[in-house]
């Protein structure tokens, strides 16, 4: 199923858990700052930015996270392994051309760009960036995909 963003976000829900999806909209450098150094990922206009809330949360918070990346190019800060603050963080971000949701991975422990932590009910769903939208594959039974809010001004390409 191909979903066109049409200036809005894509919200995929099952129960309290959700994924919020948006297109990157323009090319930019997403920097990842870790204790061992800095790495900068090239993001393409049709790449996807996805926020997952495996235990639920506020979609508006997910909107803000996406906009921090997309509009303000905020770097990602990496906590050291077993940092006590990790358990307080409810939203997970992933960026890239193809992203697959998986509940079998430990949150925050997988650097692979194509995976994002999700609830069991959303596991298996694949999202592939296409011009102006995304292709949704393997949408689990009972999951609902719908438009959400206004995505704000599209960044210039």
């Amino acid at each position: 199923m191909i979903h066109s963003f049409n200036g809005k976000f894509l919200l995929i829900r099952q129960g309290a858990a959700f994924l919020l999806v948006a297109g990157a909209g323009h090319r930019f450098s997403l920097c990842i700052e870790s204790p061992s150094g800095e790495c900068c990922q090239g993001i393409e206009p049709d790449d996807l930015l996805v926020v997952s809330a495996p235990e639920g949360g506020e979609p508006e918070a997910a909107v803000m996270l996406i906009e921090l990346l997309r509009r303000f190019h905020t770097p990602l800060l990496v906590l050291p392994k077993d940092h006590p603050g990790s358990r307080r963080l409810r939203y997970v971000v992933s960026a890239g051309p193809v992203i697959r949701a998986d509940c079998s991975i430990r949150r925050g422990t997988h650097p692979e760009q194509h995976l994002i932590c999700a609830s069991a009910g959303l596991t298996g769903i694949s999202l592939c960036g296409v011009p102006g939208g995304c292709e949704i594959r393997d949408l689990p039974t009972g999951a609902i995909a719908e438009e959400y809010g206004a995505a704000g001004p599209e960044p210039e390409r």
Binding site: S29, G42, L76, G108, L115
Partner: protein, 50 residues
């Protein structure tokens, strides 16, 4: 990459290693990931492996 919002968080693995690049426009040196790295300083894609 996967990170957690709030400040964002990931546990970064040694498996993810970027290549060294230099921006031809502004001279910035950086480690880049992905098929088309972009300069983090000036957002130019006019970069080359260093």
């Amino acid at each position: 990459m996967c990170s957690v919002g709030g400040p964002m968080d990931i546990e970064f693995s040694e498996r993810v290693k970027g290549k060294d690049y230099k921006c031809k426009d502004c001279g910035e040196k950086f480690k880049g990931l992905g098929k088309k790295p972009v300069c983090p300083s000036c957002q130019s894609d006019n970069v080359a492996e260093a």
